[in-house]
Amino acid sequence: MARWFRLFEKKRGNRRTGSERIAGLWEAGFFASLFLLGCLGFWLVLRFLLLPEWRSGKDFLPVPCKVLETRLGTTLREGQTLYRPEVCIEYRVGERVYRLWTYDIHTVRGNGYSVDRRHAERCLNDYRVGESRTAWYDPTNPEIAVLERGFRWWTWLVLLIPFSFVVLGAGGVSYHVWRWGKSVERLAVQGKPLALSLSANPDAALFPFVPEIPSGIQQPGEHLPYRLPVLGTPSRALMGWLGAALFWNGSVLALALAVYHSGKFDWSFTLFLIPCLMIGLTLVAAFFRQWMVTTAIGQTTVEISDFPLICGQRYRVYLKQTGWLKMNWLEMLIVCEEEATFQHGTNTRRETRRIWQKTLARHEKFDIFHSVPFEIETEIEIPSGMMHSFRSPHNEVRWRLCVRGSAQDWPVFERIFPLVVLPEPSRKSDTASWPRRPVQATSMGGATSSEGTSHDNSETV
């Protein structure tokens, strides 16, 4: 569904070389014309639809009448035939007898037509020639009388159209009046930021524009106090393939049943069915492959001694890898990346640059068994002077733990665990509300690799 986009929207930066004021005037004029149109439409609907209906319900007086005749009224508009019920009645008001064709107030006013013939006929079926009914007449003009009173439900819907114009127009004009002559900074401060704020009130946060702690972080972990959530779990891919396979094969099966249930064999449909079946089988195969990959590679668990992290501090990190694998290599890295998003014309361009990377551990040529997961514990130090985690609408500095591995007969896998890194406390900081200091390093945990070489804490820049 198309998003609503603001007309005359100023892009960020110096997109325009023309006058902002003239553009603003045009925009304000545009919304003002919307508002006036809406008011006009509103008045028209009130005057010619709602008000007559309201009067007929409130002011008209009852009078006994006799049904003389019924007919289906028709008219031709823009090449289409429209219908309405028409009932001829006779009634007396005072000394005078009146006879007219009527149904409701719109019929009397010369309208009341619709495309729905059946509805009109159903209305007519309620009336029998010769029967006595009650009509309601206008005391100010007894020549006008109706059999049906009250509001039609669609009249209120019609009212919504000009009402929306009024709201849009009024809103747009108010916005421009409020905005007129104000600078970018003033607008940003007055609750209408031109750049979005991450949280509802970043000025109230202790660390504005630092991403929130990712949801899914668990405390305590099995081994260390915090278990980190993983980005994009493999089970999602599995469910995705399953869903696609079920949907496709289910649709093809339903279609085949609908065609073949009569027992007749259709050559053309069969030819069409063959490639559909091939696609279905491919999806099933993809699902099973993903299932095997997920099962074989197993779960990657990373736990850490404290969270969020602080520049200049050390932390313990624990890794557990389950599965049934003959590993070529497995490594754990900590990385810091910049990501900048640029919307240029109608394309969004996203660029990522890795600015720092450190290999925390690397192990080669070992086996992982279902009953004996691979476990290591090591240490991270976030260097002083590094940039903390930062996120704004188009720019981000992010920290991550990556676990990558290569196993025989399986593709290289990678699991990413987002981190939040805070700046070092300054002398002026109120450290009472600062995250508590991390657990001090005591002894290195041992790796449980069965054989092969291992490398810890090498830095790659």
Binding site: R12, G13, G181, S183, V184, E185, R186, A188, V189, P193, L194, A195, L196, S197, P202, D203, L206, F207, P208, F209, V210, E338, E339, A340, T341, F342, Q343, E351, R353, R354, I355, W356, G385, M386, M387, H388, F390, S392, P393, H394, N395, E396, V397, L422, P423, S426, R427, K428, S429, D430, V461
Partner: protein, 133 residues
């Protein structure tokens, strides 16, 4: 004569710690041009620069404007003060930069607004440098 804006930071500092007080003054000359000025706005803000779309956030904002028929009083410097936040710190990255500045806009009664700004550093984050292999 067009007003001229000079922004001074107290103690001649250019590097600040998070949580520190940033204070200074704005001098607009000539001193008698108050009648020709409708309003003065001061913002202490950060913005990003680099390869991504620019993001901006105003940390502190102050506005001085004419009071009815009385001209804006700018014979004395306009003082400002705020406590700087913990984040985001100033940063020189490969494709992202974060800059803090004090920005002043003067809105004359006639003519276009005049803008002046000075940058300062918040924190001591080292510039990002990667050896390209």
């Amino acid at each position: 004569m067009e007003p001229r804006i000079v922004i001074h930071l107290d103690h001649r500092k250019t590097v600040y710690e998070p949580g520190e007080i940033l204070s200074g003054k704005v001098i607009i000359t000539p001193a008698d041009c108050g009648e020709a000025i409708k309003a003065v706005e001061l913002s202490i803000l950060w913005y990003t620069d680099g390869k991504g779309d620019q993001d901006l956030h105003v940390h502190h904002f102050r506005r001085w404007s004419q009071d009815g028929d009385s001209p804006l009083s700018i014979s004395a410097p306009l003082r400002f003060q705020t406590i700087l936040p913990q984040t985001p710190l100033s940063y020189d990255g490969l494709i992202i930069r974060i800059r803090w500045c004090v920005r002043v806009r003067v809105f004359p009664v006639k003519g276009r607004e005049i803008v002046e700004e000075i940058t300062f550093r918040l924190g001591h984050v080292a510039p990002a440098r990667v050896r390209i292999q």
